[in-house]
Structures are given as structure tokens and as C-alpha cells.
């Protein structure tokens, strides 16, 4: 990924808790074969039938779209969309800070 200095503020501004929530709900709906409208960000994903295939799918998609490497256990450690979005936001901020 190119990391020119003037891109940084714009890039970090792109990700908000809302935008990440929308992204996560869309992805997770695909893994769980549900419609995005069915996924409540505050309900534990296990209640929708999250399994390890879906958990790994999430890691793969986060790596692709955000260039962040996550532990395969992330979906168990942060069990709701809300918690995952907050964790991703923190990680993304950390990434920007390190550059």
C-alpha cells in the first residue's frame, strides 16, 4: 500500500465506527447467509450461527480490504459487530500512528 503523508488524514477519516459497522454487517451477512437487515450490531454473532469458517472469512476480508492482519480468534474475542468495529477502528488508528 502506498503511504504518502498527505493521504493519511483522509485515509483515517474514511473509517468511522459507522462505516466499519456497515462494512462488517455486509460481510457477515454473506458468511452467515442472511440479509444485512437481520444482523443487529449488538447481538453476539454466535447467535446467528457464526462458526470458524465465517470467523476466518472475516480475517481474510479484513486483510484484503484494510491491510490489517487479525488473529483468527478475533470474532470470538470481540463477539458483536459493535465490538468488532471498535476493535478495527483502534487497530486502524494504531496502523496510521505507526507509519
Amino acid at each position: 500500500m502506498t503511504t504518502e503523508i498527505h493521504d493519511l488524514p483522509a485515509e483515517s477519516a474514511v473509517h468511522t465506527s459507522e462505516s466499519l459497522t456497515v462494512w462488517l454487517v455486509d460481510r457477515i451477512a454473506v458468511y452467515l447467509r442472511r440479509s444485512p437487515g437481520e444482523i443487529d450490531p449488538t447481538v453476539p454473532l454466535a447467535e446467528y450461527g457464526l462458526d470458524s469458517v465465517a470467523a476466518l472469512s472475516l480475517c481474510g476480508d479484513v486483510e484484503e480490504d484494510f491491510d490489517l492482519v487479525l488473529e483468527p480468534t478475533v470474532a470470538w474475542d470481540y463477539p458483536t459487530v459493535e465490538a468488532l468495529a471498535a476493535h478495527l477502528l483502534e487497530d486502524l488508528a494504531g496502523e496510521v500512528g505507526r507509519r
Binding site: 442472511r34 447467535e47 457464526l50 470458524s52 472469512s57 492482519v69
Partner: protein
């Protein structure tokens, strides 16, 4: 082709003849792409001799050696090292990897009477510590990629290896895919079995020394090991391998591998094709050329007609042909393959009358009758297969459903140290017969029907559930759920599967409401999380019920088949429940709706 007495002789001939040819390419996952490790036949020979000389120094000839590896080239070296030493390899999942625990591997370690453990440098410290904690210090543990301070191999001397002498009935490995966690069963695969099955696979798939295999299945999985690693070795071909995690994270990487390395043979369970359908984007698809793929194996779990159709249609623009699908049937007890679809032939399907099929008859479905589409697992060439009524043990004619019984050189002699079970499972006799039919049959526990030479697998006789290519034993799930909370521990439970367009796990568990420390929804959420995480399958359907709901036989055995029927009839009243949308729809269609899905 030269006839080899043992698989070891065969591999020695291949490594001797093919020197600089790549035997294996392993793709490691980087965030931006894959990095490839190459292993030539000559290097495989040297590394296997190094491992074998160490094994020989530990006196492991004819003894079991546990292989605990992540998916990596080191596994291949260790496995071939065992073959070179005449040791009996026991591949098992690496503890800590994808929810596998030391406890599960401990069951295998004890059952198999393991004498030594092979692993890699990254995992050796924790495995040695575990062995010490279990009081098993006498079991040596070696990191096969261990190096000294100069970067040179830290053990063994390929020159010190001596060629072992043994015959075809010597065991090559134990395959632990059968049996529950609490009672693991290792299939004893002899060199004779392995050579016979590799020949059967070759005939069925039409592979040769030019074939390029490509897969991501775990190496301790029978299809991963025998199909993707040992078949290329048997042929003198080559294979490209990646880890299951790489595939599950990005299914596209598998298809990319097929494209870039011009893979001709490779596959996985049905869910792998579903995953590709759901997760590969149109943009990714546009970059793919899958025209090299002539045998896309689909086995190890029920084969879905819809999956085959949708995959062939979606990936046709990438050069994938429906005739490339290779629906097949097999199991560890027969080494691997039993039947397969002939090369260049599209999968054969039958639309069966669902009601007649439940009754045990394969009949064409009428226009308005409920129908079930069956995909043929192909034809049988190297085995004798009969369909047998599981209670009366009478042979069934074509077109009638019964248990699939098998005989042939690939059928293993039995499970390790299980003489009683072996008599029942590996030495069955057909009722009313004399001579060869009266003994020596393998009872597969699978239900199927033969029709015009095609084998259709229709279900399971045993209560085992297969989801995402994983064999689940209801007992294991029930025990784990009951161990989770004291409010559940006192009650009984029943786990089974129901079928919509895919398999769904259903957990029915008794709960003592007075003992619940939180509330029922929290308890239920905990069960779903536990099953999803520990067993790697979605637990979409959980019913918490009053004590006394679970039906048992007079001897206390859980009646899972009856519980499944009651569930489908809507006859189970839950204190609290959650259901998958499809399962809820199925119940509404078949009975009065006593259960509502959680919104």
C-alpha cells in the same frame, strides 16, 4: 509399471529416478500474496533419510510415530521419513490450531501407543512441555526442521539410514478420522492397502506422471494425505499445497493456485465449492483461467446438485467445465476412494421421489411429488460393493436403499487395538450366504443405493453428522454443552442434524431452570458460541427444554433419531430456543408452529 511390494520401495524408486523434478510446492500465505517453497524429489529423499535415520536410532521400526504439524513442507518430509524407517505414521491435528486441543491429541497419543513425536521447530517447545506435563518424558520429540547455530540440520545423518525390510502387510500409517473424541479409532492402513488405493484413484481420476495436484485440505485428513500428497508421489507427479486457513480466509487463493500452477486434479468437500461461490468476486473471477482443471473432486460430505450446477455456471467464463467435476465416495476405512465419476463425464443425477426414498426405494419423482435430487458418487471399479439391509443383513437388489458394504484390497484390516469392533465392522457377513459372502465385508455405516452401475449415497446409518467436511459425533457435542454450566450438567441432551439445502446442527438440551445463574437467553448464546468455536460448525438451532424431554432407551441410551423426528414434527416444547431461518421454515411446512425463530 513395475510392481512394488511396499509404498516405501515405490517412493525410493521415484526419488531415485526423478531427482530435480519438483515433487511439492507449498504456498505460504502473505498479506499481499503467496510465497512458494519448492521441494524436489532429490531433496525429499535426503530430508526423509535424515528423519528416518533419527527414527531408526530410536527403535521405531513397526512402531507408531505421531506427526503434529501445521500445513507445511515439514509434514511431507516427516511422513516420508516414517515410510523410509518402516515406522507407522500417525498424522493428527496440531494442538492449538483451529480449536484443536491437547486433550483431543492426547486421546490419539494414548490409543496409538506412540513411541516418538515429530513436529517443527516452532511447535517443539510446547509439545515437549505437554509431553512432560503428561508424564510422557520417555516419548522422544523431534523438530524435523531443527538447525544448529550454523544453520545446519541439528540431527540425523541421511548417510546413516539403512533400508528397512518388510512386506506389504506392514502398516504404513494409522488414520484417526473415525470415532468420537472420547474414543478415537485409528484405521490401520497397510502398504498393500495404500498401493491398491493409489492404483484405484489413478484409474478413476485418470491421473498420470504429468498430473499436477492442487489442494488445501489438512494433511491429517484422508483426502488431503492420500489424494493430494501420496497420489502424486505414487505417480511421480507433483502437487501444489496450501493450508486450510489460507483457503478459508481467501477461497480465491485456491482457484488462483489452480490457474497459476495449471493444476489438473484437486478438490474438497462440497462446502469448499459453496464457499468459492459465495466469496469469490466477479472481479476476481474475471482474472481466472480454470481450464487446466480436469478433475475437481467432490467428496467427504453429501454432494449437492445445486452446488455443482451453480459452480459450473458461475465459473464457466473462467474455462471450468461441468464434466470436470469428479463426485466421489470413500472413507479412511477403505484407505480413501471407493467410487468416482469417469473422466470427462458430467455428474449423473437422479430426481428421486422423496417419500419412496424414505421408505427405501429409488423411484422417479412424479410431477407434483416431493422430490430429492441425488448426485451419483460414480461407478465402482476396484471393489466389490453390496447394498445390505442393516437389520436383517440381507442383500438388497438394485434400486433399494441399504447399508453400503465393501470388499477389496484397499479395505483396511481394521482399527488399531479394537478386536471387538473390527469383528463387527470389518468382518460382516451377508445373511443367507456361504463362502466368501458370509464374511470379510466392511460395514460403512453409510446408506446408499445402486442403480445402473451408479452409487448414490443417501444418508448415514450411524448418528454421525457431517458439516463443512467435518465428522461430528453427537456425543462429543452433548458432553461439551453439559460441561459448560451446572444448570446444564444435570440434564441430558441430544444433538442431531436436519437437512434443508444444507445440513443444520440441532442441539436440544435439558436445563434446570432453578439452577440458572444468569438467564436462559445468555445460557443459549453461550451454547452457540461454544459449539461454533470448539467444533467449528454453526450451532444455529438450540432448544433449551425441561428435564425429562430427552427420550432414552431403557438402558439409558439417547434416542437421537426419535428426538430428530419429534423435532421435525414440532413436538418438542422449548423453554427458550433459537432456530435458523431455513429450519424454522421447514418446521412451519411440516407441523404446527410451536417454535418461533429468534428475530
Amino acid at each position: 509399471m513395475t510392481r512394488f511390494e511396499t509404498f516405501t520401495e515405490l517412493v525410493l524408486a521415484r526419488t531415485g529416478a526423478l531427482g530435480a523434478k519438483d515433487a511439492f510446492i507449498f504456498l505460504r500465505d502473505g498479506a499481499t500474496g503467496s510465497e512458494a517453497d519448492h521441494l524436489t524429489y532429490a531433496d525429499l529423499d535426503t530430508e526423509a533419510k535424515r528423519v528416518a535415520s533419527w527414527l531408526q536410532s530410536k527403535g521405531t521400526f513397526g512402531k507408531q510415530v505421531l506427526l503434529l504439524f501445521p500445513s507445511s513442507m515439514a509434514f511431507v518430509k516427516a511422513f516420508v521419513g516414517c515410510l523410509y524407517a518402516g515406522a507407522v505414521a500417525v498424522p493428527a491435528p496440531l494442538p492449538g490450531d483451529q480449536g484443536h486441543h491437547f486433550q483431543r491429541v492426547a486421546g490419539i497419543l494414548h490409543d496409538a501407543e506412540v513411541r516418538a513425536v515429530l513436529t517443527d521447530a516452532a511447535n517443539e517447545p510446547q509439545i515437549s512441555a505437554w509431553l512432560a506435563a503428561e508424564g510422557l518424558d520417555h516419548i522422544s520429540c523431534l523438530a524435523v526442521d531443527g538447525v544448529d547455530e550454523h544453520g545446519e540440520p541439528a540431527y540425523g545423518d541421511p548417510e546413516a539410514w539403512t533400508r528397512p525390510s518388510f512386506g506389504p502387510d506392514h502398516l504404513a500409517f494409522l488414520q484417526y478420522t473415525s470415532g468420537s473424541t472420547s474414543a478415537p479409532k485409528g484405521v490401520m492402513v497397510s502398504h498393500r492397502n495404500l498401493l491398491a488405493n493409489e492404483a484405484a484413484i489413478q484409474r478413476s481420476v485418470g491421473s498420470d506422471s504429468e498430473s499436477r495436484f492442487g489442494g488445501w485440505l489438512p494433511f491429517y485428513h484422508d483426502m488431503g494425505l492420500i489424494g493430494h500428497i501420496l497420489q502424486p508421489l505414487w505417480l511421480g507427479g507433483s502437487a501444489v499445497l496450501m493450508s486450510p486457513v489460507s483457503f478459508l480466509k481467501r477461497p480465491f487463493r485456491w482457484l488462483q493456485m489452480i490457474d497459476q500452477y495449471k493444476v489438473t486434479v484437486g478438490g474438497g468437500p462440497n462446502f469448499a465449492y459453496d464457499l468459492c461461490l459465495r466469496r469469490v468476486t466477479d472481479e476476481q473471477l474475471a482474472t481466472l483461467d480454470l481450464s487446466s482443471w480436469v478433475a475437481a473432486c467432490n467428496g467427504a460430505e453429501p454432494i449437492r446438485a445445486e452446488t455443482l450446477r451453480a459452480f459450473a455456471e458461475r465459473f464457466a467464463p473462467a474455462g471450468f467445465r461441468a464434466e470436470s467435476f469428479f463426485p466421489c465416495y470413500g472413507m479412511a476405512e477403505t484407505t480413501l476412494l471407493v467410487s468416482g465419476t469417469p473422466l470427462g463425464q458430467a455428474p449423473v443425477e437422479r430426481t428421486a421421489d422423496a417419500v419412496a426414498l424414505e421408505r427405501g426405494e429409488l423411484l422417479a419423482a412424479g410431477p407434483d411429488a416431493p422430490a430429492r435430487t441425488l448426485v451419483s458418487s460414480g461407478i465402482i471399479e476396484d471393489f466389490d460393493v453390496r447394498i445390505v439391509e442393516p437389520q436383517s443383513l440381507a442383500q438388497q437388489p438394485d434400486g433399494h436403499v441399504g447399508e453400503i458394504w465393501i470388499k477389496g484390497d484397499s479395505v483396511a484390516p481394521g482399527y488399531w487395538a479394537r478386536p471387538e469392533t473390527n469383528k463387527e465392522i470389518f468382518d460382516a457377513g451377508i445373511a443367507g450366504t456361504e463362502g466368501p459372502d458370509a464374511a470379510g465385508w466392511l460395514r460403512t455405516g453409510d446408506l446408499g443405493v445402486l442403480d445402473e452401475g451408479q452409487l448414490y449415497v443417501t444418508g448415514r446409518l450411524k448418528e454421525m453428522v457431517i458439516i463443512n467436511g467435518r465428522n461430528l459425533y453427537p456425543h462429543d457435542v452433548e458432553r461439551a454443552v453439559q460441561a459448560m454450566d451446572p444448570a446444564l450438567g444435570a440434564g441430558a441432551g441430544s444433538v442431531f442434524a436436519v437437512d434443508t439445502d444444507r445440513e443444520h446442527l440441532v442441539v436440544v438440551q435439558e436445563v434446570r431452570a432453578t439452577a440458572v445463574s444468569t438467564d436462559l437467553p445468555t445460557l443459549l448464546a453461550g451454547i452457540r458460541q461454544l459449539v461454533g468455536k470448539e467444533f467449528n460448525v454453526p450451532a444455529g438451532n438450540v432448544l433449551l427444554v425441561r428435564p425429562g424431554t430427552i427420550r432414552k432407551t431403557t438402558s439409558g441410551k439417547i434416542q437421537r433419531t426419535l428426538m430428530r423426528k419429534l423435532f421435525l414434527d414440532g413436538a418438542i416444547t422449548a423453554l427458550h430456543s433459537s432456530l435458523d431461518t431455513e429450519v424454522a421454515a421447514l418446521l412451519r411446512a411440516s407441523a404446527e408452529p410451536v417454535l418461533e425463530p429468534v428475530a
